[in-house]
Point group: C2
Chain length 324, copies 2
Amino acid sequence: MYTLLEAQNLVEKHIQSLSIPDTPPELYEPVRYILSLGGKRIRPALVILACDLFDGEVASALIPAVSIEVFHNFTLLHDDIMDRSERRRGSPTVHVKYNENVAILSGDVMSILASRLMNQAPGNVLNLVHDVFTKTAMQVCEGQQLDMNFEELLTVSEVEYLAMIELKTAVLIAASLKIGAILGGASQRDSEDLYEFGKNLGIAFQLQDDLLDTYGDPGVMGKNQGTDIMDNKKTFLVIHALGAASPAQKEELITWLEKKDFDPKEKIGAVIRIFDSLNIKEETELKIKDYYQKALSNLEDLNRPEERKAELYNFASFLRTRNR
Amino acid sequence: MYTLLEAQNLVEKHIQSLSIPDTPPELYEPVRYILSLGGKRIRPALVILACDLFDGEVASALIPAVSIEVFHNFTLLHDDIMDRSERRRGSPTVHVKYNENVAILSGDVMSILASRLMNQAPGNVLNLVHDVFTKTAMQVCEGQQLDMNFEELLTVSEVEYLAMIELKTAVLIAASLKIGAILGGASQRDSEDLYEFGKNLGIAFQLQDDLLDTYGDPGVMGKNQGTDIMDNKKTFLVIHALGAASPAQKEELITWLEKKDFDPKEKIGAVIRIFDSLNIKEETELKIKDYYQKALSNLEDLNRPEERKAELYNFASFLRTRNR
């Protein structure tokens, strides 16, 4: 039985030895670059763990797992262009290091490469695996579009926000588990349960991201506190606060959200004071707990011996207790 | 037996009735928009003709054919961003009509949609069809990268140029035929022959594009003569001229190519005069004839009754004699 760490290491080794063409270098060097920036390789590791859970042949899940990671990095690459982000994992983003055209085109080729790698799934499940993969990939694009739409809107409901992060973040985590389960020979019922587990965990994961950005320990996080507030991002915290605020608090919050010129410290402090008065930290923690419980219940439903699920419980708890 | 026109009409009908999600509209409306701009639907029609040539079931080739057209339109959409083109088939390009982020993301979702549609190829050839498709799709990206590289270079050899247009234009035409042949049940040998036919015809097609831009009849073309010259594009004509020119002519040509401020008519006239003195029109026509002959010879080699190949001969002759 693979541990999460063993699965991550296995995947990392295969990403490092992935055969990517050399020419033209302008096209393929950025692909190697973004894949070399690291990351926790959570999604491909989940493909491995899910396959292993059903006693599937892990070797047959390796290339599909790498495919998921290549796809994930493609979305990061293109999202960084759209969001005008300059740093990714402590290094310059592709469109900053190279240029925007190179970033568009090398992202395009990564997306196709991901599909080409997925085509190496065994023939008997190829159609099914590819169906889950392409459906999910389209949903991730839908999530990114909704996220961009929300930037232009002042009022986004909690339901809309949760639907957005489900698409943008959670479905790829869910699909990683489902694809691993299919490769491992799971029944449709079991692969669906695992999908739901991943989806609920993915939503909890993103809500925690929102929470940590504002309430995390900057020393532990390795980045400044309150970057989401500074960037006027529509996080769960802001949306929940706008819903719960008194008219006066709402007006104050909106004033801060719309302010173009501000002292960062002052703005972050003011917004956190509003959050605090509305118990936003506690409310968000409750919501996270809610999704986390749902995920655990999906895992309990799963028709496998409890001791075989240990690594997935560990994984859930690892996400739950992370502080960065 | 399908005629080219019947195949085009069949494909057009299926593109019009293609089920594309509605939400978020910002993501999917541009997909519908670019697919509605028309075009000759040559590539998907070739999938149909090739399948039919081997007595394959045309119904099973329809969705893969549409996939190829969706992919082709995705490349146009993203190329237009990279090339800063403002018009496509007489209408505003997607990044002009909407915005650049929308164009990046709706292109991304189109590329995935193409892959999702290709996944509907019959199970027994799915892996093979998907292998040809993804390999070709990566090559098209490589071709676009080389094309962008050439813009920055003054000296590009004829061999390099031909390799670029093979990747950017010819391989997708070739792969359309090969995928159709595979779907039709062709032998590997026959599907390779058909691929070579498409590749040589595709190169001839692009060279003719270069020729028509400078020497075509503006009235027939529906666009101005010499747009490539004005845009300093590295066409076959320019590359051949730089190779054949005397030192003095070369200097004059380079001066024009590097000029930032110019009177369009004066520049086009001067460059055409250099071309004429070097017989560039005739040399290009010879090259086109060369590739066209190669294509016909590939078609002759193909192990099918000559009368069954009639539509492909017609297609080749349609491309050969086009004047716009």
